[in-house]
């Protein structure tokens, strides 16, 4: 089945499955236990920690395992706010951050005395560091959130420049790298990132595991209290198998990234997809800036006059998986806050489809997707926009 929805969840890598299976099959062991099986589980966890750290230029001791990207973002935002005195709890986020960041910030504003400012983005979805800087109140800002690359349109952000501004104002820099972790653009040390969020399943690891990478010396309050695991920042029994799968996926992603031409090959696949779609619909509009500093496997396009949810149904019926913006709790596709922040109107946002490619994508997948869209267009004629 042609799968072009890596940005939602990437297929599990063989390496990740192979790393997980022995831990699932072997006798139960808590990685915190002092006996042999416990030590073996702990060793698997620590190996994984090294792989995850290496992927983002961090030290192993800076990796805090969480249940996923959402928890990592929540721990970063709320943990940073709670570590600061009231009056120094300002939060500055780009308008296109993931809801895990934006909604955690909204909670902090409503319930923890924070004040939140959203930094606007341009038509491609990129934040202007100068405008971001204008929102920082030195000494009163706890955290600045600038994602590495946007999950809906793929646009990369000036993370290193934002980190400099944040530090000059005495604030921490959170980089949500959930979508961009496999790419060379994310490096904790080089870019001056204090907090970096990851999710295993976007890298080809399992769901249910992620990490917040916390630069040594960063003051953060935990959200989960209990056994004191992960240096007290995240209590809870470590899921050794899931962590091992995460580590193996991170190692595989790192090896892949270091192959010459990997990103270029992905971008070339995407280019073929775009060319195929454009041949079907010359009026197609590309969101973001794929030729710039963007995720090479992600293509966000609008088909004027065709609702994305209609097109998705037709593609699904042909076995092609892709996505339309972000889904709300009911499962409906609602106009994306990212596209709205980029200046699109709700009708345009409803016409936007996201195709995303990754580690196992092939030309055959791209060809199948183009063929399915062609079939879909046979059925679905463009209509006047519904606003």
């Amino acid at each position: 089945m042609p799968y072009l929805d890596y940005a939602a969840s990437a297929p599990l890598r063989a390496e990740a499955l192979a790393a997980m299976l022995p831990l699932l099959q072997r006798p139960a062991a808590n990685p915190s236990s002092q006996h042999g099986p416990g030590r073996a589980a702990r060793a698997a966890v620590e190996t994984a920690r090294e792989h995850v750290a290496a992927l983002v230029g961090a030290a192993p001791g800076e990796v805090v395992f969480t249940s996923g990207g959402t928890e990592a973002d929540n721990l970063a935002v709320k943990g940073a706010v709670l570590a600061r005195p009231e009056g120094a709890r300002r939060l500055v986020c780009t308008a296109v951050e993931h809801h895990a960041v934006l909604d955690a910030a909204a909670w902090a504003e409503a319930d923890a005395g924070a004040r939140v400012a959203a930094a606007p983005v341009d038509a491609a979805g990129r934040v202007d560091p100068e405008r971001l800087g204008g929102l920082l109140e030195p000494g009163r800002t706890a955290l600045v959130a600038v994602m590495a690359a946007n999950n809906e349109v793929g646009t990369g952000q000036p993370v290193a420049a934002a980190a400099e501004l944040a530090h000059a104002a005495g604030a921490l820099l959170l980089c949500d790298a959930v979508q961009a972790a496999g790419l060379p653009g994310v490096d904790l040390g080089r870019d001056g990132i204090d907090l970096l969020a990851l999710a295993a399943h976007k890298l080809g690891g399992p769901t249910g595991i992620g990490a917040l990478v916390v630069r040594a010396g960063t003051d953060l309050r935990p959200l989960l209290h209990g056994g004191g695991q992960e240096r007290g920042l995240r209590s809870g029994t470590l899921p050794a198998a899931a962590i091992a799968g995460f580590g193996a996926a991170a190692a595989a992603a790192l090896a892949e990234r270091e192959q010459p031409g990997y990103a270029a090959a992905l971008a070339a696949l995407r280019g073929g997809l775009l060319a195929g779609l454009r041949a079907l619909e010359p009026a197609l509009v590309v969101n973001g800036d794929p030729d710039g500093d963007a995720l090479p496997g992600l293509l966000s396009v609008r088909f004027p006059g065709r609702r994305a949810e209609d097109l998705l149904l037709l593609l699904d019926r042909q076995g092609v998986a892709c996505s339309a913006g972000s889904a709300c709790a009911s499962g409906a596709v609602t106009p994306s806050h990212v596209l709205l922040a980029m200046g699109r109107d709700p009708a345009e946002a409803r016409e936007t489809v996201r195709f995303s490619l990754g580690h196992a994508s092939t030309e055959a997948d791209v060809d199948a997707a183009v063929a399915a869209v062609r079939e879909g267009f046979q059925v679905l004629a463009p209509q006047e926009a519904v606003t």
Partner: protein, 367 residues
């Protein structure tokens, strides 16, 4: 031969769940769709009532998985807000009493969804309404107590040829039994009542939040002031409670005059009307309302009376007068009037004006 492609509207209730199951049993190629009709679903749910909550979407999704059919959630909150919710408030503000379910069927759930289904290549739309479509005509449901043909009168031949109503010959207990037999999670789900976007049933409070207070006077037919009110939209023709006036005999709302912020009240016998004028009238056979005899229903669960249909608009029959065989009490402008010949739905329209029996018998009422 390719199977009939049917899109089923699945609200997450037992009726549409069983409609989907019967569509599958009929051998059709079935796809389920749940409509998200509210921007803030959580606010619509009060003790399990209301519709289109996240829980309802989950129930519908679970039923679709049980039936093994593809399932999608479509966001039609914008259409619903504009076509139904705004219209509901606007109609009350204009002194009328709207029927939001008929409006929703017309603009969103049936006609709107059908046109979308057709655009996607589906042959038909199936819903869990209790009514029958046979030979392209619309009939009452076999279960008269559950009959919903009243809210479907606006369907014409263009729609009826592509609408499937699998519950039309079933009773509610049979529907529940079918759901239980198939192991559908919605089998024991309670009925939803009231207006789905006013889940606590407090329409007056909802309107006040929406329209603000618009105080005015409660008067009798001669214009004598009997009391005051906080908004004419809180009143509907025939209403007795909540008038806030002391009178020896019960008083009823005769008319709502929002422009003057006046509510006109009178005695019970003054409620009787013996003719209504319809606007936006249509016939289920698509040929416009024609002169002749019919039975008319003026409320979803109201009485039916015989009438003579008098078209006022010879070109398309979009306006008509119904001369009632016997007076009917308390008919509110804005309500649907639906015409029947036995079980066959002839068509209907929106009540634009009523003619009071008392006015006709005696001197004309003051404007």
């Amino acid at each position: 031969m390719t199977r009939t492609q049917v899109l089923v509207a699945m609200s997450g209730g037992v009726d549409s769940s069983v409609a989907a199951a019967l569509a599958v049993e009929a051998g059709w190629d079935v796809t389920g769709v749940h409509l998200r009709l509210a921007d803030t679903p959580a606010h619509l749910q009060v003790q399990g009532k209301g519709c289109c909550t996240v829980a309802d979407a989950d129930d519908a999704r679970r039923v679709a998985a049980t039936l093994g059919i593809p399932f999608y959630v479509w966001d039609m909150a914008e259409e619903f807000r504009r076509a139904v919710v705004d219209d509901f408030a606007g109609e009350y503000a204009a002194g009328r009493t709207p029927n939001p379910c008929a409006r929703c069927n017309e603009r969103v759930k049936v006609v709107g969804l059908l046109s979308r289904a057709r655009a996607l290549g589906f042959d038909a739309l199936a819903t869990g309404h209790y009514a029958r479509v046979e030979d392209g005509r619309l009939y009452r449901a076999a279960d008269r107590a559950k009959d919903q043909s009243y809210v479907l009168y606006m369907l014409g031949p263009a729609e009826l040829g592509h609408v499937r109503l699998p519950l039309g010959r079933m009773t509610k207990p049979e529907v529940r039994a079918t759901a239980a037999r198939l192991g559908l999670r919605t089998a024991a789900k309670p009925e939803s009542y009231d207006v789905c976007f006013v889940p606590d049933g407090d329409t007056a409070g909802w309107l006040e939040r929406r329209l603000g207070r618009r105080p005015g006077q409660v008067v009798d037919r001669d214009g004598h002031v009997l009391g005051s009110h906080q908004g004419a939209y809180r009143y509907t023709v025939g209403q007795r409670r909540g008038l806030g006036i002391a009178a020896a005999t019960p008083r009823y709302v005769l008319r709502v005059e929002p422009a003057a912020a006046r509510v006109v009240v009178g005695e019970r016998d003054e409620l009787a009307i013996d003719a209504v004028e319809l606007e936006r009238a249509s016939a289920t056979d698509g040929r416009g309302l024609r002169p002749g005899r019919a039975r008319v229903r003026l409320r979803a669960h109201g009485q039916e009376v015989g009438c003579q249909v008098v078209p006022l608009d010879p070109d398309n029959g979009a306006r008509a007068r119904l001369d009632l065989d016997e007076p009917v009490a308390a008919v509110a402008p804005g309500q649907a009037a639906v015409l029947y010949d036995g079980d066959l739905v002839l068509g209907g329209g929106t009540v634009a004006a009523t003619v009071s029996a008392a006015a006709r018998a005696g001197p004309p009422a003051p404007a």
